[in-house]
Symmetry: C2
Subunit: 258 residues, 2 copies
């Protein structure tokens, strides 16, 4: 079995046209597939409309109890269920899940060291056997970036990490591609030029580009995570634009990390 695990972020979710285009491509993608979506700006807007303050500590967003309710509503309800209903209408049988559903992804509330992040989950375990069973039945999981603790709390969870954890857990039994949709066409040689995509990146080339300063800043943790996923058994990680997933899985767009 080959499984594609695809992550989209706020830049896709917030723009109706982009989302519809992406969902069409996702529905058209053959074989078993999993979608993990981020949050987008709707939660921030909803919190503001409800008079809930977005708390930041040292530049990091804190998920206090009212904000946890907002992300549970918006990510787990509004965004997730609308994506699922639209995929159904596009002929793709999807099921919208959080980590709590079917006990799919168990977390612990992040321990307080210097910062108390609040209701944020660090993933402990993925019940991949159930995700596989859904896929074998032709049902494609669509995950909101939420997990749960054994105490029965919903926990806000980083969507990139969640996608990677799901992909790694499935890698034991299947050939898994992990596809990060991104606002650029891939990893670029020149950050200003969207046509300068590096088609394939291995760890030697990555080390070289880092040394040269070609790859820098926010791309470094992203790529470190990608290489870590490959070392953990994921066949390849692809970084591409949401529009390009059909080409990217065939190696015709984006950057493939292997």
């Amino acid at each position: 079995m080959q499984i594609n695990v695809i992550k989209i972020g706020g830049n896709v979710i917030d723009v109706e046209e982009k989302l519809q285009g992406f969902l069409k491509s996702f529905a058209a993608l053959e074989g078993p597939k999993v979608l993990v979506h981020g949050g987008g700006k709707i939660a921030t807007r909803m919190a503001a409309d409800l008079g809930i303050e977005t708390k930041m500590v040292e530049g990091r967003r804190i998920t206090d109890a009212p904000m946890r309710d907002v992300v549970t509503m918006v990510y787990g309800g509004l965004v997730n269920k609308n994506i699922v209903a639209r995929l159904q209408s596009l002929g793709c049988n999807a099921v919208g899940l959080t980590g709590a559903d079917g006990g799919a992804i168990l977390s612990i509330k992040r321990p307080v060291k210097t910062i108390d992040y609040g209701y944020v989950g660090d993933i402990v375990e993925v019940r991949s056997s159930w995700i596989q069973k859904l896929l074998l039945d032709g049902v494609n999981p669509v995950f909101a970036p939420l997990t749960y603790s054994k105490e029965g709390e919903i926990l806000n969870t980083n969507a990139d990490t969640q996608a990677s954890a799901v992909a790694k857990s499935l890698a034991g039994e299947a050939e898994v591609n992990l596809i990060y949709c991104f606002e650029k066409r891939g990893v670029l040689l020149d950050a200003e030029n969207n046509d300068s995509v590096i088609p394939v990146l291995n760890s030697e080339a990555y080390a070289k580009y880092r040394e040269q300063g070609v790859i820098y800043a926010g791309m470094i943790p992203k790529l470190d995570n990608a290489f870590e996923a490959v070392r953990s058994g994921v066949r390849k990680v692809i970084i591409c634009e949401a529009d390009d997933i059909l080409q990217a899985v065939r190696g015709q767009a984006g950057t493939t990390i292997e």
Copy 2:
């Protein structure tokens, strides 16, 4: 296989203590089970907080587009996912669903005759094979009162009707009990006396009590629906308090309709 399909309404969801008590009983209930929950007052409160007006026409609530977003968030997200996470912590493997998930419950947007109800769904089809498959895998569906149209829209759906449709669809393959949790202990001989529960009600007795005016008003459509479910193959319908479900499935509490 014996399956219990249980419906709880706002009176349970809105009171933390009641909800926790009910969830403990639900988790303790043996065998495959399905929960259908109503909305409660949180959606109305949330709409008010967001400055969304609750529209009524001839005393009936209308689901316009902003209100549909609110119920999708609150029923499908906040209420549903918190119930699921809490059931997990109580040792009950639950999955939170709307009708869109797995294509479980397809509706049509209610046609406009005299009133345009907006985004309200009338159920067309329940994909019971998938619900059965989940139950056989030991995963208990928890449905929010939301379904979907083939056009990919989420539709607000009456929870009583949804519970009944799920129960009837499963009745072909299993012995199904449909349990409506209610603010009273059952169908009462004297509406003012919670100890006057009628333990068993058949259609002859129901006709007699209606004639005598013992059963009246809001109980009539509720009971008409219950008898209709029994005629459609549901083994029995039980009307009881949320606290009493464990006794009620053994015929030791509530009113059994057969």
